[in-house]
Subunit: 136 residues, 2 copies
């Protein structure tokens, strides 16, 4: 029902793309489904500190459950963003680290963390003002 001619050539890789073509929106959505959920970015951000073990991550990321950590790590490993090294020892030891692909997200994650820390007060204030204002 759209009937619009789609510009297929608009890839716009060099520099900031000014607009998202409809077909890229789908790609972006798929990726954001992976890296854009709450825990994935937290795990990647935490792994910036270096090689980490399962329980280290569990402690380093407040609020995450074992289930979601396992799931997230498996998915990140599955997508090639992190490496998983299991040592057949007793006690068992599994180390996780950023793979090159995950490392390429590093700058973005840092920026996002930066943004979060910089603006979270502003957001809180905005939200508070909103609450007091429109409490009807």
């Amino acid at each position: 029902m759209d009937g619009v001619a789609v510009q297929r050539e608009t890839v716009a890789l060099p520099g900031p793309c000014s607009r998202i073509p409809v077909e890229n929106a789908d790609i972006v959505r798929q990726i954001l489904d992976r890296v854009g959920d709450k825990w994935t970015l937290m795990v990647i951000a935490t792994l910036r500190g270096g090689v980490m073990r399962y329980t280290d991550l569990l402690r380093a990321i407040p609020g995450i459950s074992q289930r979601m950590l396992s799931r997230t790590l498996a998915q990140l490993h599955h997508d090639g963003l992190i490496t998983r090294t299991a040592y057949a020892e007793v006690p068992p030891r599994v180390e996780y680290a950023l793979a090159p692909l995950g490392d390429s997200l590093n700058d973005i994650v840092v920026s996002l963390i930066d943004w979060a820390i910089t603006h979270h007060d502003e957001i809180r204030q905005h939200r508070a003002r909103f609450d007091t204002a429109g409490e009807h």
Copy 2:
């Protein structure tokens, strides 16, 4: 199996934090709870195109439901990331646009989109290889 552990030291990167202190982890998590869910970044990314109406966003973001769009928009407005302008007309018209706070996310969003477009093939290949390899 893999068996190769990646040597990775704590590299200082541009920005205040090269590592995430535990206390900041909580802040980051809170922000990522807001901004890191599937739809929020998609909405922000889509709004980069300029002022948009509700149904425009609905069409521009494939897969989103009316419910989630309303919710996401309300939250973004609530947090001060976007502006909402309702015109008391017939037919009614509601326009959404990025507020300065949301606009400050622009660069990050663009980077993320760029990353998504650049690496989604790589991720797919990794995933496919993983599937064929360890189908156990």
